[in-house]
């Protein structure tokens, strides 16, 4: 079973819709400890600001369960967008500590005015998959939808799963063993996203 974490934040309607569309039935939107403990995989969605996300997680009381799941039992967890950023140790966006499941931090985009690059970065990018993996098809071209003003910097190059370019090359997906994150929204990325969620369900 895939537990989509309910911590009062995030646009989960579209994630659930896509799982339904691709025929992944064993999905549960939940904020209950026992459901999460019983799950095979976790999907951590999220929109909004970093501190608000961490506050909501703290208030939900689920952080210890998530820690056990990801770091002790080492079962697959996928963070999407803000969910990915929360897996890092900190963010330029706020004061709170992140979950720190991956060795990395979340930085702010910053471009000179003459670059004409707008923030947030909003739109479709083709991504460069950097290593063979079980989540994103390697060696074929995939494009995904992004909406974000901050991006993740992995401190360990080996964790970089895919990169995209917006003014700079940034990590748009990471993987460290069972810990996955995507900055883009697979649930909003047509067949390319369906493939990613399908792959996650098969890990």
């Amino acid at each position: 079973m895939i537990a989509v974490i309910d911590y009062g934040i995030g646009n989960i309607g579209s994630v659930l819709n896509m799982f339904k569309k691709i025929g992944v039935k064993d999905v549960c939107f939940t904020g209950k400890e026992e459901d999460i403990k019983a799950a095979d995989k976790i999907l951590l969605p999220g929109v909004g600001s970093f501190d608000r996300g961490m506050d909501s997680l703290k208030r939900s009381g689920l952080i210890p369960v998530l820690k056990d799941f990801a770091l002790v039992d080492k079962k697959p967890i996928l963070g999407i967008c803000l969910g990915m950023q929360l897996l890092t140790s900190r963010s330029d966006e706020g004061q709170s500590n992140g979950l720190g499941f991956i060795n990395g931090e979340t930085l702010a985009f910053s471009f000179p005015k003459e670059s004409n690059l707008k923030i947030p970065h909003m739109g479709w990018n083709e991504v460069m998959v950097e290593k063979e993996n079980t989540l994103i098809p390697y060696g074929t071209s995939s494009r995904f939808y992004f909406v974000h003003s901050y991006y993740v910097k992995c401190h360990n190059d080996a964790d970089i799963l895919a990169t995209a370019n917006y003014g700079i090359n940034f990590t748009c997906a990471f993987q460290c063993d069972n810990i996955f994150g995507t900055q883009f929204h697979p649930e909003k990325s047509h067949k390319f996203g369906m493939q990613v969620l399908k792959n996650f369900s098969l890990i």
């Binding site: 646009n11 579209s14 707008k118 947030p120 909003m122 939808y145 909406v147 974000h148 909003k188 047509h190």
Partner: protein, 253 residues
């Protein structure tokens, strides 16, 4: 590098999809759920749904219809129409909508923009600005609210800057004068606004061919939107849902 988005804007009136000229003379185009399904198959970049009867009729968004639409939409989808409270906004996000669009309420209740940006992030908070020439010689461009019925006392640029300060993360800039005519965007307006804002601006109103998209992008738009272009075909404006292929659109940008 990023590819500009090409966005169909779909207008809903009384539960059906409609399209007009200069915000008037709306004709029925089709069933919204069905049309979104077709756009979905065409792998459209994004879709914006505007319910143009909510504010006029002073009623709630049609949540049921929106949920039905989002269940068929595997691309980013934004919704606007009749949003006056943060509770309504929450319900809309819960139906699987990616971004909310404010128009009249952004002016009447600026705090709602602030609250939405704070709770859901600026990138999910969009404001749609309708601009129309007015004055004796039709010489000045003014912002209008309430389906372009009521003029406000701020220039498009002053208003845009105010919205950015409130937390809006994107602006849909519509020229009411150009809208529905399929003769090109108001490129001067696009340039004036985009060169003074740091957030993405979506150009809307007037697209009739691929060259129009190119012009708007060259004038600084981050994304281009259209209505008629995607739903009408030929001089008699027969209804036909179209969307350029990924490679066709890539060629012009």
């Amino acid at each position: 590098m990023i590819r500009p988005r090409l966005i169909p804007i779909l207008l809903i009136q009384d539960g059906g999809l409609v399209k007009g000229v200069n915000f008037k003379k709306h004709v029925y185009v089709g069933d919204p759920v069905n049309v979104v399904k077709i756009f979905n198959e065409k792998e459209v970049d994004e879709i914006a749904i505007l319910d143009i009867s909510c504010t006029v009729e002073n009623r709630d968004p049609n949540y049921e219809l929106i949920s039905e639409i989002t269940s068929e939409a595997f691309m980013p989808l934004s919704y606007g129409g009749g949003l006056k409270s943060i509770e309504q906004v929450r319900k809309i996000f819960h139906s699987g909508v990616e971004k909310v669009i404010f128009n009249t309420s952004a002016y009447l209740n600026p705090n709602l923009i602030k609250e939405t940006a704070k709770e859901f992030g600026s990138s999910s908070t969009v404001v749609s600005i309708d601009v129309k020439t007015s004055g004796f010689f039709k010489s000045t461009k003014k912002v209008f609210i309430q389906n372009s019925r009521k003029q406000i006392e701020l220039t498009p640029l002053e208003y845009s800057k105010m919205l950015v300060d409130l937390g809006a993360g994107e602006i849909i800039l519509t020229s009411v004068d150009h809208e529905g005519l399929m003769a090109g965007y108001d490129n001067d307006l696009i340039e004036e606004i985009t060169s003074n804002l740091e957030i993405p601006v979506v150009a809307n109103g007037g697209a009739g061919n691929m060259d129009h998209f190119k012009q708007a992008l060259n004038h600084g738009a981050s994304a281009v939107a259209a209505g008629s272009f995607f739903v009408f075909q030929g001089t008699h404006k027969a209804v036909l849902i179209t969307y350029p292929s990924y490679s066709d659109f890539s060629q012009i940008i």
